[in-house]
């Protein structure tokens, strides 16, 4: 089965600035993929290319279509929420539902109503009257009521309080996600999503630094916390990054010799956020 998203040498230039530099990655059906990178790394450019919002060089297939030339058709099967509140100020909630129901064959009105019923938002309210968090909730309700194969979320919980964030992610995993769906999500709050991701793609300065599943992280990477006297021995195993914490040094290894490392100190699988910091700091050095 071909990948849902497949990018080969995906490149996007804005004048002299290269936002995406021959990026290669793939996203399989049924995964929840986190696209993670620092500000200006090319996350947004990658998402815009995937969603057909911008032209690009290189090859890109999303649901077997070229996004830029077939955006409208692609949006039958894919939907997205961009990083900022983009519902127009004049739009009423009921108009938004009517419009999406009118133009989107996979929109389920009852589900949108059910999602909105959990909030304080009524149909006659205009977007300009709603708080940023409420606007996000309307947008999420509209989007999650679409039976899409691919859902792209760019900083989806921006402006939401902690309770709303938690319930959003719970709903995403428990009610929305199933094996036919794929979610691509970017956020700088890595800790918030790392428990629900199945895959991560790290991006830095337009290049893909890492593209692997969470299971693979466990076999490919290891972190060892060692006491000072063992740092030199551990360094002999060629860590790609090290970091000092409370009296110990944590060393990160790729394709580690687990048996050797276990003897040196506390062996663990690095968390996504730790691995992210390690990978990017190592790349910057």
């Amino acid at each position: 089965m071909p990948a849902l998203i497949e990018a080969r040498d995906l490149t996007k230039k804005y004048g002299k600035h290269t936002a995406l530099d021959h990026a290669n990655f793939a996203v399989e059906t049924g995964r929840i993929v986190g696209l993670i990178g620092p500000n200006g790394a090319g996350k947004t450019s990658a998402l815009r290319a995937i969603l057909g919002l911008t032209s690009y060089e290189g090859q890109l297939k999303v649901l077997d279509r070229e996004p830029f030339t077939h955006r409208a058709a692609l949006m039958n099967d894919a939907c997205f929420i961009a990083d900022v509140a983009v519902l127009p100020a004049w739009l009423r909630v009921d108009q938004a539902i009517d419009f999406v129901a009118g133009v989107h064959p996979r929109f389920r009105r009852d589900r949108a109503h059910a999602l909105l019923a959990k909030t304080q938002i009524t149909g006659k309210r205009r977007m300009r009257e709603l708080s940023k968090g409420m606007k996000t909730q309307v947008h999420l309700a509209l989007t999650m009521a679409i039976d899409a194969k691919l859902l792209v979320l760019d900083e989806p919980t921006l402006g939401l309080d902690i309770l709303a964030r938690r319930s959003f992610y719970d709903a995403l995993v428990n009610d929305y996600m199933d094996e036919t769906r794929t979610i691509l999500i970017t956020t700088h709050q890595v800790e918030e999503v790392e428990n629900l991701l199945t895959d991560v793609i790290f991006i830095d300065r337009g290049r893909i630094v890492l593209d692997c599943s969470l299971e693979d992280i466990a076999t490919r990477y290891a972190a060892v916390a060692v006491t000072e006297d063992r740092v030199a021995t551990a360094r002999a195993e060629k860590p790609f990054y090290e970091r000092r914490t409370l009296g110990k040094t944590v060393l990160y290894f790729e394709k580690p010799d687990v048996d050797k490392l276990r003897d040196l100190g506390d062996l663990s699988t690095p968390s996504v956020s730790d691995l992210f910091v390690a990978k990017l700091s190592a790349g910057a050095a």
């Binding site: 815009r48 969603l51 057909g52 919002l53 911008t54 032209s55 830029f68 955006r71 409208a72 058709a73 692609l74 949006m75 039958n76 939907c79 997205f80 929420i81 961009a82 900022v84 983009v86 519902l87 127009p88 100020a89 004049w90 739009l91 009423r92 108009q95 419009f99 999406v100 009118g102 133009v103 989107h104 064959p105 947008h139 989007t143």
Partner: protein, 291 residues
């Protein structure tokens, strides 16, 4: 087609002025009929009836028509720019609607839907006015407004204007949506500056007036193209009412020139230029998501 109807509906949601403005004009004119002076003239002949009735009905339509053209121009200039300004373009693009459909729906709204709203508003308020005046007026004036033949002629005139102007002025409309899809700010200024610059540069460097002539011919060429020779005296009728001499067209049917309009190469040349601008606007809408 279904998508287009939703797209046009959305324009009406977004731009409530589309129906509020004609409603206000209609209300103002109705109030004028209710409280204004209605015994304008004592009409003694069917000929006088026809002339005065026709002029009043025509003037009502003109009031709507002038405002409509100003509003439509502004609408076309703003429609694509507004989506980028409030960043909602990203929401619209998350739906399975092509950018071509979006641009065409906005053009249709500006060139056909908005004029039709004004057309209907003008008809409703003209009927109201005629009714009020016939009840209030003690003179023969009220009766002059109820002439089916005049009504029919004016309906035909307005519809003919809507269709032929949409075609003749498509280069202007296309230019407006192109600017709307392109400009980062000051759409009004950008709609005027490039043609003005082209005109001046051409004058300074080549001493020619191609741009100016083309613009003038397009702006002023509509009436000579879409209507019969208006200097032909036989199409006009002179009537004396009280001490005024009034010259009016004998019949609208003698003035309209659809055959001449559609067989004029300038009509089709303009259409081609308009389509080129519109295609450019679609390409820009495809690529631009930010200001």
């Amino acid at each position: 087609m279904n998508n287009y109807s939703w797209l046009v509906r959305r324009e009406f949601w977004e731009n409530r002025a589309i129906w509020i403005v004609p409603a206000v004009i209609g209300a103002a004119l109705t109030l004028a009929a209710l409280f204004g002076r209605v015994d304008i003239a004592e009409l003694t002949s069917p000929e006088q009836n026809r002339v005065v009735g026709g002029m009043v009905l025509f003037a009502f339509g003109v009031a709507f028509f002038v405002v409509m053209n100003i509003y439509s121009t502004w609408y076309l200039l703003d429609c694509l720019y507004a989506d980028r300004k409030d960043r909602s373009v990203l929401f619209w693009k998350s739906l399975p609607i092509s950018d071509t459909a979006t641009v065409l729906a906005k053009l249709f709204t500006g060139l056909i839907a908005i004029p039709l709203v004004y057309f209907v508003a003008a008809d409703i308020s003209t009927l109201l006015m005629a009714f009020i005046v016939s009840v209030r007026a003690r003179s023969t004036f009220g009766g002059a407004l109820w002439q089916p033949d005049l009504w029919l002629q004016l309906q035909a005139l307005w519809l003919y204007l809507i269709v032929t102007m949409a075609i003749w002025y498509l280069p202007f409309a296309g230019w407006l949506v192109l600017v709307s899809a392109w400009a980062k700010r000051a759409v009004m200024l950008w709609s005027v500056l490039p043609p003005l610059a082209l005109y001046l540069l051409e004058r300074w460097f080549f001493g020619t007036h191609v741009t100016g002539t083309a613009l003038r011919d397009r702006a002023l060429g509509y009436i000579p193209t879409a209507f019969q020779d208006i200097t032909d005296r036989t199409a006009w009728v002179t009537t004396v009412i009280d001490r005024d001499t009034i010259t009016t067209p004998g019949s609208i049917w003698r003035l309209l020139d659809p055959l001449g309009f559609f067989s004029n190469p300038a009509t089709w040349l303009g259409l081609v230029v308009g389509v080129v601008f519109i295609l450019g606007a679609i390409q820009l809408r495809l690529r631009r998501t930010d200001l």
